[in-house]
């Protein structure tokens, strides 16, 4: 019988510093040649003695047989230790877990708040040939907190990328400061578009409200949720949301389902 709790070893191929508290680890794990994932899925990554944490995959899913990348913000003991790793270090991984975002087949609005942009990077990187279908919105506390700055600059050459900062104004980027919801409320959005949203929970209710007001339908609006997780397979109960589990049935849920959950009441 397969032991679902037993992690695989993964070697750090390279570390890319994203900003002062966030780094991307490029990993090659045991059995990498058979590894597949969908953008929006996550891994349980751990270090002996530090436990495990659920981290979204940020790399191109078409490269999954060569490597994956996990972008990790230092917010606790484990994530701080992971941020200090160097090339050649070994981590423990399990996964991939969860459902991932739906396939891109038409206009899709990607809305990322802070390090919530991480799984959306995987969506974009895995769909570069469909880039014209995508519109990108990023909200961040300050320019210092921004992740994937080089990627954003690259994508901006081809498609609409809008970035707003909560605490500062960068005239060259956006003329006002504010939340991502301030940015969205001024936009004209295609009501037939899909929206993929990932960020802190505080931005979700308002984002949902704006997207609905702009005419998008609840079944086309997808949120990726963050919850404490231990098992990753819907048993330990930490990540339960109503009748479902974020680790197994999520982390991506459509708004239609989330509206039935009490803290998404608009």
């Amino acid at each position: 019988m397969k032991n679902i709790y037993l992690p695989k070893k993964a070697v750090v191929l390279a570390v890319q510093k994203e900003n002062f508290d966030t780094a991307t680890l490029f990993l090659k794990m045991e059995g990498q040649a058979d590894f597949e994932f969908l953008p929006g899925q996550f891994m349980m990554i751990g270090l002996a003695g530090f436990g495990e944490s659920a981290i979204s995959i940020s790399s191109d899913s078409r490269q999954s047989k060569k490597f994956i990348s996990l972008t990790i913000r230092s917010v606790g003991n484990l994530t701080q230790a992971l941020n200090e790793l160097k090339k050649g270090d070994v981590v423990l991984v399990r996964g991939p877990f969860g459902n991932g975002f739906p396939e891109i087949n038409g206009e899709t609005i990607l809305i990322g708040g802070g390090c919530g942009f991480i799984p959306l990077r995987s969506v974009i990187a895995s769909n570069v040939e469909r880039l014209a279908d995508l519109r990108i919105f990023v909200g961040c506390a300050t320019a210092k907190n921004l992740v994937f700055t080089a990627d954003l600059a690259e994508w901006e050459k081809k498609i609409s990328v809008k970035v707003i900062f909560e605490k500062e104004i960068h005239e060259d980027i956006y003329p006002e400061k504010g939340y991502i919801t301030d940015l969205l409320s001024k936009e004209i959005l295609n009501p037939k578009a899909k929206a993929f949203v990932c960020g802190p929970l505080v931005m979700y209710a308002k984002t949902a409200k704006i997207l609905l007001q702009k005419g998008l339908s609840a079944e086309n609006i997808f949120f990726s949720l963050e919850k404490r997780m231990h098992c990753g397979i819907g048993v330990c109960q930490h990540c339960a949301i109503g009748p479902k589990y974020v680790c197994k049935d999520g982390p991506v849920f459509d708004l239609q389902f989330l509206l039935t959950q009490k803290y998404f009441v608009l």
């Binding site: 019988m1 397969k2 032991n3 679902i4 709790y5 037993l6 992690p7 070893k9 751990g46 002996a48 003695g49 530090f50 436990g51 495990e52 913000r73 917010v75 606790g76 994530t79 423990l92 929970l201 963050e226 919850k227 404490r228 231990h230 098992c231 397979i233 048993v235 330990c236 109960q237 930490h238 339960a240 109503g242 009748p243 009490k262 803290y263």
Partner: protein, 326 residues
């Protein structure tokens, strides 16, 4: 089946391995490791605790972390003896919940689950069950190895619920037994109606003032979830053993504990006692039925007995049901 066969069987299992079963103590009947057959309590009284901590230990080592290696130590031959029907239902639920869990399954293969009923009438009065009845077709919907029914005339009937159980009875030279084939947890007539009724009741009651009232009463101590035979939340933790060896362990947890939903930045979702107690009821009466078409509460009433705030699960359900009728 005579009393002699029963005594023979009990002596046999004490010779074969470790017996965990109900015994009478000054505080009441409790399940514990028994030294001799005379210690077994056969009154049919529902023990204060259940068998949960023996099938899902409070803490267990899963594997070594440095280097990663699985602990393949052979487990002791353990007999869970005198498991009431209610506790059997809880163990049956665990078989489904932990279907893919190698640790639970390997332990389960080493264990013998021996159910016991002291008689229908007796059971019903002493258990103070609020929604359960012993029915003819009950045994084919619970998982066990051997089940022993004490009849009114004082004789015992033996049932084998698995091949392992059959072999055990034969080794103990108990040949007069019936085989019961497990046909799944759901009865032929479909899941019990009360599963749907309670599910609807709890799922639709989120804004009901009852939860505010319970939130004010509840201390969020988690005693109910610790004693509950169907509660199985757990944490995975890296822990050093006494020799300094780093191990991945599983520890029983509770949705009432402060860390349960804690994520980065100290953010939590279940904060108030009201949210926690609703989450707990929701798991029992909505999420488990949704996943398994089975009840997440076997009606043992232990949670109400241990609750320092006097919260009674049966009364709360009745209250919601009564108001719904109005």
């Amino acid at each position: 089946m005579s009393k002699i066969d029963f005594a023979k069987f009990v002596d046999f299992i004490f010779d074969e391995g470790i017996v965990i079963g109900p015994t009478k103590q000054s505080s009441g009947v409790v399940v514990r490791n028994l030294q001799r057959s005379a210690d077994i309590d056969l009154s049919g009284t529902l023990p204060e605790n259940g068998f949960k901590s023996f099938i899902l230990p409070k803490s267990e080592v899963l594997f070594d972390l440095e280097p990663i290696s699985e602990n393949k130590a052979k487990k002791n031959c353990l007999f869970l003896f005198g498991v009431s029907l209610l506790d059997l239902q809880a163990l049956t639920l665990f078989e489904y919940v932990f279907e893919k869990d190698v640790y639970f399954q390997s332990r389960r293969r080493e264990y013998f689950v021996i159910g016991f009923s002291a008689g229908i009438e007796n059971d019903y009065r002493k258990y103070k069950v609020f929604h359960d009845q012993f029915e003819d077709n009950v045994l084919e919907h619970v998982l066990f190895d051997v089940f022993i029914e004490k009849q009114k005339n004082g004789n015992y009937r033996f049932f084998a619920g698995s091949e392992k159980g059959q072999k055990l009875l034969e080794r103990a030279e108990v040949n007069d037994y019936e085989n019961i084939e497990f046909v799944g947890i759901t009865k032929e007539s479909g899941p019990e109606q009360r599963i749907f009724l309670n599910k609807k009741l709890i799922a639709e009651s989120v804004s009901h003032p009852l939860w505010i009232e319970l939130g004010n009463k509840c201390l969020a101590c988690g005693k109910c979830s610790v004693i509950c035979p169907t509660c199985f939340c757990f944490d995975l933790r890296d822990v050093f053993d006494s020799n300094g060896k780093l191990q991945k362990t599983r520890q029983q947890s509770s949705c009432f504990f402060p860390h349960f939903t804690k994520v980065a930045g100290d953010n939590k979702e279940l904060i108030s006692a009201r949210e926690k107690i609703y989450f707990w009821y929701y798991h029992k009466f909505v999420r488990i039925p949704e996943e398994f078409n089975y009840f997440g509460c076997v009606g043992c009433g232990r949670c109400s007995k241990v609750c320092p705030a006097g919260i009674n699960i049966a009364k709360n359900l009745q209250k919601l049901a009564k108001e719904k009728q109005k």
